[in-house]
Amino acid sequence: MRNTRLAAALVAGAALLAAAGCGGDSGGGSGDGPVEIRFSWWGNNDRAETTKKVIAAFEAKNPGIKVTGDFADFNAYFDKLATEVASGRGPDVITLGGAYPREYGGRGALLDLSRVSGELETDKIDPAALGNGKFDDKQFGVPTGVNAPVIIADPVVFQKAGVPLPDDATWTWDDFVRIATDVAKKSPKGTYGVADPTKSDTLDVFSRQRGEGLYTPDGKLGISKQTLVDWWTLTTKLRDAGASPPAATTAELAGQPSPEQTLIGRGLAGMQVDWSNQLGALRKASGHPLKLLRYPGESSAQQKGMWLQASQVYTINAKSKHPKEAAKLLDFLVNSEEAGKLILTDRGIPANPDVLEAILPSLNEDQKAQAEFIDAATPTMGPPLVIGPEGSTDTPDILTRLNDEVLFNRKTPDAAADEFVKQVEAAIQ
C-alpha cells in the first residue's frame, strides 16, 4: 500500500512540474506588482556590465518597472532571438542592426513607434541615422548611435615594420595592397599587413565607389559581377603576397567574431576593416593606440563609398505586453544624459546631439578619437546606405562560404562572383 501511495504522490508531483513547464504565463501581470520587461542586446562582457548599470539607473527612476537584461555574442544572438520571437515570447526591447530591422519589421514583428510617441521622443535624433530604422513609412527603430565603416590600423605594428601610416585622404586600393604587403614582409612571421577584408560592408563601400552599391533602393542586388571579380582578384593578390593570412586562418577567424580574437585585437595585423565603434574594444584587446582610417579609393572614386549609419537600432516587440514601459526604457537609453554617460560611445556616437555634448567631457582618449573621426569624416561621407531587403541577412554567410572557396583556390574569382549573384538573388527573391 505504501508503495502505491508513494507512486501516486510522485506521479502527481511530476505532472505538476510538467504542467508548470507548459503553462508559464497564466496571469498576465496586470496586478499591482512591478511591470516586468525584457531587454536584449549582443556584445561582450564589458558591454553587459555597462548595460546592467544603465538598467539599474532606469529602474531607480521608474520604480514600477523591472527590467531583465539578456545578451549573447553576435553569432548566437540572432539564432536565439528568432526562436524567441517566433514563440511569441521575445524580449520587449530588442536591439537589432543592419538589415535585421527590415527583416523583423517586414514580417510584422516590430511595433510601429508612432503608437508610443507619448513615451518616446525622436525629434532630436539625427535624421540620417533615424532613417535606418524607418521603412514602409513607419518608424520601427531608434538608432543607438552613429557609426561608420572604417579601416582600423595599428601604429605599433607599422612602426615595428618601419612602414609609415598611410595618408587616408588620398590613398588608393593599389596603395592599400602595397602597404599591407610591405608591413607583412617587414614584420615577424605570423603578423600580417591586413586581416582578410572581405565582408559585406566592405563590398558595399567598394561597389559604392563605382556608383553601384550592394543593394538597389528597390530591393535588388546592386553590385555587378565585374566588381566582385575585381574584389576577389584584389584579395587573392593580398593572400598570395602574404599580406593577408592563409585561407585556413581566415576561415578560422570567421567563426570568432569577438574583438579579442581578431588578428588586430591580438596585435597580429597592421590593418583590419571594421566599424568605428569597435575602436575602444580593439584598443583594449590589443593594448595598442589603434587609429581609424578612411577607406582607400575614396578620393578618386566616382562616388564616396563610406557612409554614416545607425550602429544598432533599438526596437520594440510588436507582441510586447507593456509597449509603454518598453518605450520609456528606449527613451531613457537614447535621450537621457544619465544613460549616455554610462554607455558613452560603446554603441556608436550618440545620435542625440544633447547627449553627445553632455558626454564629451567624460570621454576617454579612445572615445574622443572616435567622435573626432566621425566629426571630421561626416562632410565627406557618401549618400545614405541602401539597407538590404528581406532575406538579405543571409548575404554575410553566403559571402563567407564563397570567400573561403576563393581563398582555398576551389573557385576562381569569376566563378565565385557568378555564384554570389545567383545565391544572393535567390535569398532576396
Binding site: 548566437a76 523583423y104 585561407a247 578560422e252 562560404r401 573561403d404
Partner: protein, 324 residues
C-alpha cells in the same frame, strides 16, 4: 531540437538501455509472480514519462510533419504548399553536399570508433587489475563528448595555434588550422566521435565475458593461435553485440549536431566541409527562418535513418550468429 521532429530519433538512440538489451537471454526470467498491483505501480511510475513523451516529443513530431508541407517563416503563420519543400530538395546543392558530408562522416567514424572499442575491450578482458577503474576511465569520454565544452576544447586543440600544431612544431612540421581547412575539418569531427568509444566498449566487454572460456581452452589444445582464436571464436560469437553497436552508433552519428556546430563555429564551414545534415537543417530553420523546409528535412533524415537501419537488419541475417 524536438521542435524539428528530431526528438524522436534522439530518444531512441539513448545508450542507457543498451547494456540491458544486450543480454537477451535474461529477459524470460522476469515474468514469474509479477502481481497486477506491481504492474499498476510500474505504470504509475512510468506515467510522467509517458506524459512527457506525448507533450514534448510526440506533439512536436506531429507538428513538424504538418509544417513540412508548409512555408513557415516563424513570424507569420504557416502556409500550405503541398510537396514543394520536398521537390526543392532535388535541386538544393547545399543539401546534396551536406548528404555527402554526413555519409562520409558516418561511414568513416562509426567503423573507426567500433574497432577502437573492440580493441580496448579485448585488452581489458585479459583480466587486468583494477578493471573497474580502467573501464570508468575509458567510458568517461562517452559521457563528456556530447558536451559543448569538449567541442570547444576540440576547437582549441585543432585550431591554428592549438596543441596539435604546437606538438608538430616541436618535430619541425608546420601545421595548418585543422578545423578551418576544408580537407581536414571533417577529420577532426571523425576523431572526436571515435574518441567516444567508451559506450560501445562497455557493451563489447559484457559480450566478451559471455563467451565461455572452455571454447578458448579447447581451441588452444587443438593448436589455434591468438589470431585464429579471434577470428574463429571471438568474432563470430560477438556478432550480435557488434550488430547492436553498429545500429546504435550509426543512428547516433547521423544525428551529430553539437560537435559539428561548435567545432565549425555554427556554420558547417569552411566551405561547407563540416555541414552535417542536422547542421544544415538548423541553418535553414534558425538561420534563414525556413521552418517548413527545415521540418521537411527532419522527416527526410528520419526516413534515411529508418531505411539504413532496415538495411542493417536485413543484412544481419547473413552475418550475425546467435548461437542457436
Amino acid at each position: 531540437m524536438s521542435e524539428l521532429g528530431l526528438g524522436d530519433i534522439a530518444g531512441s538512440a539513448g545508450d542507457r538501455g543498451a547494456e540491458r538489451r544486450a543480454q537477451p537471454s535474461h529477459r524470460k526470467l522476469l515474468k514469474s509472480k509479477g502481481s497486477r498491483r506491481e504492474d499498476r505501480a510500474a505504470y504509475a511510475f512510468l506515467l510522467p514519462w509517458f506524459i512527457g513523451m506525448a507533450v514534448f516529443t510526440l506533439g512536436p513530431i506531429l507538428a513538424s510533419l504538418y509544417l513540412s508541407f508548409t512555408d513557415y517563416t516563424l513570424l507569420s503563420p504557416p502556409e500550405w504548399v503541398g510537396l514543394d519543400n520536398f521537390q526543392r530538395m532535388l535541386d538544393d546543392t547545399r543539401l546534396h553536399k551536406s548528404l555527402v558530408v554526413t555519409f562520409e562522416y558516418v561511414f568513416v567514424s562509426v567503423p573507426l570508433q567500433l574497432s577502437l572499442a573492440l580493441a580496448l575491450a579485448m585488452l581489458l578482458n585479459r583480466g587486468v587489475r583494477g578493471l573497474a577503474f580502467y573501464r570508468s576511465v575509458y567510458y568517461l569520454p562517452s559521457l563528456l563528448a556530447g558536451s559543448v565544452s569538449i567541442a570547444i576544447l576540440w576547437r582549441q586543440i585543432f585550431g591554428g595555434d592549438g596543441l596539435v600544431n604546437q606538438l608538430l612544431d616541436v618535430v619541425g612540421i608546420e601545421g595548418t588550422s585543422w578545423i578551418a581547412n576544408p580537407d581536414t575539418a571533417l577529420g577532426t569531427l571523425v576523431v572526436l566521435n571515435a574518441w567516444t568509444f567508451g559506450a560501445p566498449m562497455v557493451i563489447f566487454l559484457a559480450g566478451l565475458r559471455q563467451i565461455p572460456a572452455s571454447y578458448y581452452e579447447a581451441a588452444s589444445v587443438d593448436g589455434a593461435g591468438p589470431v585464429s582464436r579471434f577470428f574463429r571464436i571471438t568474432l563470430p560469437l560477438l556478432t550480435p553485440i557488434i550488430f547492436f553497436n553498429v545500429v546504435l552508433q550509426m543512428i547516433d552519428a547521423f544525428q551529430n549536431f553539437t560537435q559539428a556546430f561548435v567545432v565549425s563555429g555554427g556554420k558547417g564551414g569552411p566551405v561547407d566541409s563540416t555541414l552535417v545534415y542536422t547542421l544544415y537543417l538548423y541553418d535553414r530553420g534558425f538561420g534563414s527562418f525556413e521552418m517548413g523546409y527545415a521540418s521537411a528535412l527532419a522527416w527526410v533524415l528520419l526516413v534515411i535513418i529508418a531505411v539504413l537501419t532496415g538495411v542493417n537488419f536485413l543484412f544481419a541475417k547473413k552475418w550475425v550468429f546467435y548461437g542457436d
